[in-house]
Amino acid sequence: MADGIRDKVAIIGMGCTKFGELWDKGPENLMVEAFQEALADAGIEKKDIGAAWTGTCYDEVSVGKSAIPLAATLKLPFIPATRVENFCATGSEALRGACYAVASGAYDICLALGVEKLKDIGYGGLPQNEVQWGTRLRLVFPNLTPPGGFAMMGTRYFAKYGLSPQDGKHALARITVKSHKNGARNPKAHLRREVTIEEVMNAPIVAWPLGLFDCCGVSDGAAAAIVARADLAKKLRPDPVYVKSLQIAASSGEEMAFTEWDYSNVECTVRASQRAYKEAGVKNPREDISMMEVHDCFSITELVTYEDLGISARGRAREDVEAGFFDLEGTLPCQPDGGLKCFGHPIGASGLRMMYEMYKQLQGKAGPRQIKNPKLGLTHNMGGIPAVNVVSVCIVGH
């Protein structure tokens, strides 16, 4: 009987570059920077790494396909290296590969590194990548962008709960204001300016009902994690961070085709988080989780995620948001580092960037953003659109 990976693997070192429009840095530079920080943090040598996973999403920019760019750039000595890609959950997927390899007993120490160089695209937003849906679906999909895919969830959510555009957008703006406040205190964040509700609500529309500040930034960055067998981790450093669960769920196809799903939630988040809570022994997430980094690609995604994670009741996340429940000083701080909102979303790196903040918080090294005595941190990393997606939920703690 399988018993999962709870407490079998620990993170012993992490690295994260500054995220931003890094015009003077290539993806190779970013990989090296994140890797060297992680290596130094773990206090190990390159030769101690048994196998490596790299996450990158967009082949058309950045380093291309395969794990060769990782191995060749970092000069890894002919070790097993694998590239993973799972839309915007790619970074967490890289971490999952490394953690499960250690948990299997095959390796003592593994590396996960995610990188994306988005600012070589030549226009704003993510690449216009029609072929990502495959040769058949691209012929029957609308001319869709990520903001539009998530905006449809806003339209539906507002309609379902009878929110006026004004009330709905106010709650979304409150989420953005909170994240910007946190990001302003983070030297590694891309966007470091606090914003007001009025600014957010009056910003130009990108995809109705989402405005400019409802959308995360687009940036370059890399992040890395070195994971080790739990029993070994304690010998390598006094404060390793233990992986309690690392779950992932992919759409079954019923959301897109079957009319029962109502587009006001993300079903994969529900499924992945329920499995993660079970594996991690979390009974009541609203009370047991100390802090979290969720996939706030858009403000509406964060709102809906509160409900899908079982933190807020269905249709009630707005009340928690307006009450400050998720503020840095609130009951369950969310996006203490500023989130995708302030970091932007270099796809392959984001899942690992979220983990970087949870790791530093659990070690008490989060500086002006330090949350008091956190026990369990949760990351939620989502790829695709609400109707068809992949979601990773990871829980870490002491």
Partner: protein
């Protein structure tokens, strides 16, 4: 001789119109004598002759038994493809049988009536039972030229057969001359024309009179024998004069729609015929004539079956459902006249895998999905394993056509980031009446007019144009229900 004639009809006029004064306001300074009255119909940026012909054909065969159609003739001077049979695309789109005859009729504004006569002959000879004729045109006049205001966009379709004939075809007559009053060579985008006075007097006036007189003589008929006479002309006053000279009273002359739609080329005589059929009573005779390097003329007689004819949108409902485009710049953008900066996002078009398109032709062109034999769930696109989590039947699917189903707008957005020649790019999910869901681009609407739950229908449109590879990619879009 068996009764042969029209068993059904349909029409299509695009939603958008442009006031000719708007065109004149933009470019009239170049050609002050060009002003014409009224407005003209303008195809949306994603419409062309093929998509408009499909819309008219759907209006025509809505409720008919598609599997009985064994011929499809498409008439146009503006086919999207010069080589790739346009009628063949249309037959797939309409989900017709494969063992049918399909043909394109082209190169003259007479091709619509040419296709009609050929279809009639095919049915008369017994080589086909039910032939669908669809005509459409989307001709582009050169900016600031007279023809820019003359040409409008539209389509008409008629189904020819022997059963349930609502208008019998009693006779035809044709004349053919190489009278080059207008022409377009193989590399030309726009028509060229000779002097207007010559076209009016020696062209329209002479040949329409000749073909109608010839027909009357041939069948010993007189103008008084007709309830309506239908013929095109691009000069309003000359249009009235031609009928008058032939001995028709003003009330016998069918409305030319020139000030509402414009000259719709191959489709024009058939669109006016549809307009005449909408008002016709059993026993009425209708004379339809076309013009273009000579002319065709056809005598129809409306039967008692007309009372049982299905409801169509035809001309009347499409004329009433419209929106003014507002600006010449928007018109010029829709017709790709400006070479606008699409931005990097609008430049990128992935290659079209033609083997995929072939394999998935019914999925993509006919909007056919499947319906699970076990649980009855309609689903799109076709699945091998049922999407109903409580069923999951494997390979127990029947084909299921969504194109003629209506649905409700489940959710939507208006996207400024996505490239669109008419931003915002509007798209959303449609829940089909009877089951099934898919995500579609929406068009012919404003974002402000949409609401969750509103009824929508499907329309066949051009999804992309891959100029570098010579591909017109088509798919279906949702629109608010029209009329």
């Amino acid at each position: 001789m068996a009764i042969i004639g029209i068993t059904s009809y349909g029409g299509y006029i695009p939603y958008y119109r442009i006031n000719r004064l708007t065109i004149y306001g933009a470019l009239g300074w170049l050609n002050p004598a060009s002003l014409l009255p009224g407005e003209k119909a303008v195809a949306n940026y994603d419409e062309d002759s093929l998509t408009m012909a499909v819309a008219a054909a759907m209006d025509c065969i809505n409720g008919a038994e598609r599997e009985k159609i064994d011929g499809l003739y498409f008439a146009t001077t503006t086919a999207p493809y010069r080589e790739r049979q346009n009628a063949g695309i249309m037959a797939t789109v309409l989900d017709l049988r494969a063992d049918i005859r399909t043909s394109d009729f082209t190169a003259s504004t007479r091709s619509g009536t040419g296709a009609l006569i050929a279809a009639c002959d095919a049915v008369a000879s017994g080589s086909a039972q039910n032939v669908l004729v669809a005509a459409a045109d989307c001709r582009l006049g050169k900016p600031a030229g007279y023809l820019e205001e003359v040409y409008g966009d539209g389509a008409a379709a008629v189904l020819l057969g022997k059963e349930g004939v609502i208008a019998t075809i009693e006779g035809t007559h044709s004349v053919s001359y190489d009278f080059v009053d207008h022409w377009r060579a193989d590399d030309d985008k726009h028509n060229r024309a000779w002097e207007d006075r010559w076209i009016r007097d020696e062209g329209y006036s002479r040949f329409i009179s000749e073909v109608i007189s010839g027909l009357l003589r041939k069948y010993s008929l007189a103008p008084k024998d007709f309830a309506k006479v239908v013929y095109p002309c691009q000069y309003i006053r000359a249009h009235a004069d031609i009928g008058k000279a032939l001995g028709f009273a003003p009330q016998q002359i069918q409305d030319h729609m020139f000030t509402a739609v414009g000259h719709t080329g191959s489709a024009y005589p058939l669109m006016m015929l549809v307009g005449a059929l909408e008002e016709a009573k059993p026993g009425d005779r209708i004379l339809v004539a076309s013009y273009g390097y000579g002319g065709d003329a056809v005598v129809l007689k409306v039967t008692e079956e007309m009372a049982r004819a299905r409801e169509h949108r035809g001309m009347k409902k499409h004329l009433a459902s419209k929106k003014d485009l507002g600006s010449y710049e928007k018109y010029a953008t829709f017709r790709s006249m400006l070479g606008i900066d699409t931005g990097g996002r609008g430049e990128e078009i992935a290659p079209t895998q033609l083997s995929t398109l072939w394999r998935e032709r019914r999925t993509i062109l006919a909007l056919c999905g499947c319906r699970c034999r076990r649980c009855g769930t309609p689903q799109y696109p076709t699945q091998d394993i049922c999407c109903n989590p409580r069923c999951s039947a494997v390979n127990e699917m029947d084909s299921y056509r969504f194109a003629d189903k209506r649905g409700k707008l489940f959710t939507y957005t208006g996207d400024i980031l996505a490239f669109s020649p008419s931003p915002p790019a509007i798209y959303g999910f449609v829940d089909f009446d009877g089951g099934g869901r898919w995500m579609f681009d929406l068009n012919d609407c404003d974002l402000e007019s949409l609401s969750v739950g509103m009824p929508v229908e499907l329309t066949f449109r051009r999804k992309y144009r891959d100029v570098a590879r010579g591909i017109h990619g088509y798919f279906w879009k949702a629109i608010p229900i029209r009329a």
